[in-house]
């Protein structure tokens, strides 16, 4: 009965985390009879009676409310299909795309064309993985210029940092514009982007080692000195 694996311990799929009905399974774990079992590689996180797994690997799983960066791959008569790095495409309907009035039968590519990157929010994830996007909200827009790089979705919280501390450090030190999507796509625009990408890769690689912020500051700070 009770916990078998303690908080912050490493688990692999099939590990029994707790026995008995005192705990409830949340993300990354499941219940089988009276046992709670991990289904991914991750770190155990216990919040009161809730057992959750912080996954260390895996593809992006869309959740309503996530702000993501996607690429327009198709234009249909009533909206756009957007690749957000998931197995299914997300749909952005004309109604949710802009506050402007769009006349029927007008050319939708005027707003978003093929291969355009957009920042959008997931408004709904329906059955069968039908994902609805919306562009209504602060900071949701089409991305111009810049480049988009892929990072592991499990490292996104680390790139953003506590209350956005890391991302603010990145922005101020590199003088670049940065936009991070929950789906692991990072949009960067600015002159010093090479150095910034290096910094992001460093975060990805060494997200577990303490003193990361100082390291980033040193990496980006030195480039600032050259200019």
């Amino acid at each position: 009965m009770g916990l078998i694996i303690k908080e912050k311990e490493f688990v692999i799929p099939g590990d029994v985390i707790a026995e008995g009905i005192d705990y409830l399974p949340a993300g990354g774990v499941f219940r089988e009879k009276d046992k709670i079992i991990a289904e991914q590689i991750g770190i155990v996180n216990i919040d009161n009676r809730l057992i959750k797994l912080i996954p260390l690997t895996g593809v992006y799983k869309p959740k309503p409310g996530d702000v993501v960066i996607g690429q327009v791959v198709n234009i249909s008569f009533n909206g756009w299909s957007v690749d957000i790095g998931f197995s299914n495409l997300a749909l952005l309907s004309v109604r949710d795309a802009t506050s402007e009035f769009i006349e029927r039968k007008s050319d939708l590519s005027r707003y978003f064309d093929f291969d355009d990157y957009i920042v959008a929010k997931i408004s709904n994830v329906g059955k069968g993985n039908l994902i609805d996007l919306t562009m209504k909200g602060h900071g949701l827009e089409k991305l111009h210029n810049g480049r988009v790089i892929d990072v592991s979705p499990s490292k996104v919280p680390r790139i953003i940092g506590k209350q956005g501390s890391m991302i603010n450090t990145l922005k101020t030190l590199s003088n670049c514009m940065v936009q991070v999507g929950q789906n692991g796509k990072v949009w960067i625009s600015g002159e010093n982007s090479e150095r910034l990408i290096e910094a992001i890769r460093l975060i990805e690689r060494e997200s577990h080692i303490p003193g990361l912020t100082e390291k980033i500051e040193r990496l980006l700070g030195s480039s600032g000195g050259e200019q």
């Binding site: 490493f10 692999i12 799929p13 099939g14 590990d15 029994v16 990354g28 499941f30 089988e32 079992i37 289904e39 991914q40 590689i41 996954p55 260390l56 690997t57 895996g58 593809v59 799983k61 197995s87 299914n88 069968g128 993985n129 997200s207 577990h208 080692i209």
Partner: protein, 231 residues
Amino acid sequence: MYSKRIDGREFDELRKIEAKVGVVESADGSAMFRIGDTIAIAAVRGPRDLHPKFMQNPKRGTLRCNYNMMSFSVDERIRPGPSRRSREISLVTENALMPAVDLSDFPNSVVDVFVEIVQADAGTRCAGICAASLALADAGIPMRDMVCAISVGKVGDKILVDLNKYEEDYEEGSSDMPVAMMPRRNEISLLQLDGEIKKDEIVKALELAKKSCEKILEIQRKVLMEKYKHG
């Protein structure tokens, strides 16, 4: 009489196992599994869109396995490309992994598992399943349990574990039984038999397989930890 094994192992001793996770950079998850002179590399891609569309399942995702022996993996070059044997092993690998993965969150998509045998010295399908299981975990596919596989059998008059090529072709007769297990659930997901073996000997062999699978699980856990522990 087969009183001593050709490579000097105990009858319940496995060959030397070596494993590594993340060997194929372009894949979402990958692993290498080496047991003795048998080397398997598995790569997992997905969940991703499944085409042709009629194969899609709107209730849950599909698992698709492909087993392939490289032309240089055996002494005499084998013709590259799919064969009757590789089709069969692809199918049994898929069925061995299916009960362990949970794809209900990925309707209409597919998870592709590619198993390549780089070097073969008996027990390739077992090595392939062990590698595939590691690769699936590396890709972050939700899994009910890990899958471990090992071959057991009877060589001459002895029940033993992890046959090598010489033992598989032993002239006084041998039988070879690949077994895949989910160690926590204590379930068997693959059981094949080539040769003749008595009923009570099967029970004994399966006991041996269970013990060996637990050893393999420990190795799988160790290599996954090595990659992720600090992450």
